[in-house]
């Protein structure tokens, strides 16, 4: 069953001057994770805002959990959780205060809201900091609390808009751990990101968008294959570079490229592991020692470059709670 369906969503800003979503369509199978991958300004946030009923599209059709987001936005709000690019919590209040307040706004009784707050604070390793104002939290803690707030009602569908943007590596790893736990519990998740490795790490399916359109769709493996096959990369001692290149070209029947500075020889291969073994055997016979040897698959960076003709933009570091410069993402 499809938990999220978007069909031909068009959204413009400033009376049509800015085209944020240009007939975008996608769907998310129940219990799976879809990552929407794209650079700043690709339309990721606009898409999440449309699906979470914050923004009405100019045209198109979308359902979440089978409920129409335009005709019955309140019905959608009852089954979704949303966590945005920055922690949307009251910073003057404590983590506990925030979760109890949001619980009550989800129409839990006071006691139920307090119990849920306790559970969530424990689940997200925030129990020790529960009664500190959010102001004193680290960026990673804020995001975790924000995520906790979006899970109060155990939503059927969870939207995470760039959950790790602006976090330091440690905060990002912690956040990934938390998200992976949720995924194991079977939540349906639509996650936007501009980090290619994040999509690779967390998602079942990846939709690559640029300028408000889907430009590629598939699993991480499918996308990588779309860009091109695997390569064998071998680093040898300087004296061995030219004999090694000859051996490699003979074994693989391919055209090798050689980086003299790095002493790295690289060649495209069709049946990766088989070829790798053949190369190792040939090296062994010739008495050449490989310093480093790897079967490389294209990264999602390569995917992005080959799909859009430009590299994914550099990450914009955003301080939590601060406004982000530039266009809508």
């Amino acid at each position: 069953m499809k938990s999220v369906v978007a069909e031909n969503i068009v959204k413009t800003y400033r009376k049509g001057a800015v085209l944020a979503l240009d007939g975008l369509s996608l769907d998310v199978e129940e219990g799976t994770v879809l990552s929407v991958l794209g650079p700043n300004g690709a339309g990721k946030t606009t898409l999440v805002r449309v699906l979470s009923t914050l923004l009405e599209p100019d045209s198109g059709h979308a359902t979440v959990g089978g409920i129409d987001v335009i005709k019955n936005p309140k019905g959608v709000r009852e089954i979704i959780g949303l966590s945005g690019q920055y922690a949307a919590v009251d910073e003057t209040l404590t983590g506990w205060d925030n979760l109890v307040m949001f619980g009550q706004l989800y129409h839990l009784s006071g006691a139920a809201a307090r119990q849920r707050a306790t559970e969530l604070l424990a689940q997200f390793s925030l129990a020790d900091a529960a009664h500190r104002p959010i102001k004193t939290f680290s960026g990673g803690m804020r995001r975790r609390l924000d995520l906790a707030a979006s899970l109060i009602i155990r939503p059927k569908v969870l939207f995470l808009d760039e959950p790790t943007t602006g976090l330091d590596p440690r905060g990002r790893m912690e956040m990934w751990g938390v998200i992976e736990d949720l995924v194991r519990e079977g939540v349906t998740l639509l996650l936007t990101t501009q980090y290619l490795e994040e999509a690779d790490q967390l998602a079942d399916d990846i939709v690559v968008i640029d300028h408000g359109r889907v430009i590629a769709h598939g699993t991480s493996d499918e996308l990588k294959n779309q860009v091109g096959g695997e390569r064998v990369e071998i680093v040898v001692a300087e004296a061995n570079v030219s004999p090694a290149t000859e051996i490699i070209e003979r074994v693989t029947h391919g055209q090798a490229t050689v980086d003299q500075g790095l002493r790295k020889i690289s060649v495209p291969v069709s049946d990766g592991t088989q070829t790798l073994i053949a190369v190792i055997r040939a090296f062994d016979e010739a008495g050449i020692h490989a310093l480093d040897l790897a079967l490389k698959r294209p990264s999602l960076d390569d995917v992005f470059l080959s799909l859009t003709g430009h590299v994914a933009e550099e990450e914009v570091v955003v301080e939590p709670g601060k406004k982000k410069r530039g266009a809508r993402a």
Binding site: R49, S52, T53, L54, L55, E56, K74, R77, E78, I80, L82, G84, Q85, Y86, A87, A88, V89, D90, E91, T92, L93, T94, D97, M101, F102, Q104, L105, Y106, H107, P133, A149, S150, G321, K323, K324, R328
Partner: protein, 263 residues
Amino acid sequence: MNGIRDALIITKRQLLQLTRVPEVLIFTTIQPVMFVLLFRYVFGGLGVGIKGGYVQLLMPGIFVQTVAFTLAATAQGLAQDMEKGLIDRFRSLPIARSAVVVGRTLGDGLLNIVVLVVMGLAGFIVGWRPTSGVFHILLGFLMLLFFGYSLSWAGIFAGLISKDARVVANVSFLFIFPLTFLSNAFASTTSMPKALQYFAEWNPVSTMVAAARQLFGFHNTFGVTAHSLPSEHPIQTSLVYMVLIMGIFIPLSVRRYKTASSR
């Protein structure tokens, strides 16, 4: 009924903020008390010939000015929630569309009760003595609260359309300060240029000040240039103004909130 419950949760949040950051409450009340003292002793000499002294006319003026400042406070608070993305979260919840804005105006209204009580006591200490009896005094304070409440809806709208909390607070003050001084609040309007006199007479701040003076039992000797409608019937005119302000800004705000976006 859920709409009211949701709004009260938002109001509760604001009160909770005051307990977590008590400085806000302290400075919100210190400022008006300082104004009472400054005006009372700097301009006290203006009251020559006024029965009971300048302070009798001053206090209603300062009350009105203070509750008018609610506009800026509401606008700033809401704009902050917009900036932080909190409004996005609220809008993604299954709550009434009016809850967040109604909750905030109620919260700011409650804060005004505290502020008015503290100012009233400060005024009493420096010689303010309303003479109209308990019922009319309470009615006067009730009307002041209602005036502040209506203006906080203008603040809601300003907060929703602004992109920056500090800017909206400053702009609101740029708007309120002239409005409170181009009035009968602190000095007689008869010494103003003729055009300003008319403005001052029809200014909602003036009508509210005149209404409060009347309800507290003092003859409004400041700012009667002609026997115009607002100066003849300050209470009725003020009520009309409040209904008008809310009639304009409540629908505008609720509509704006539906499409509010933090960026």
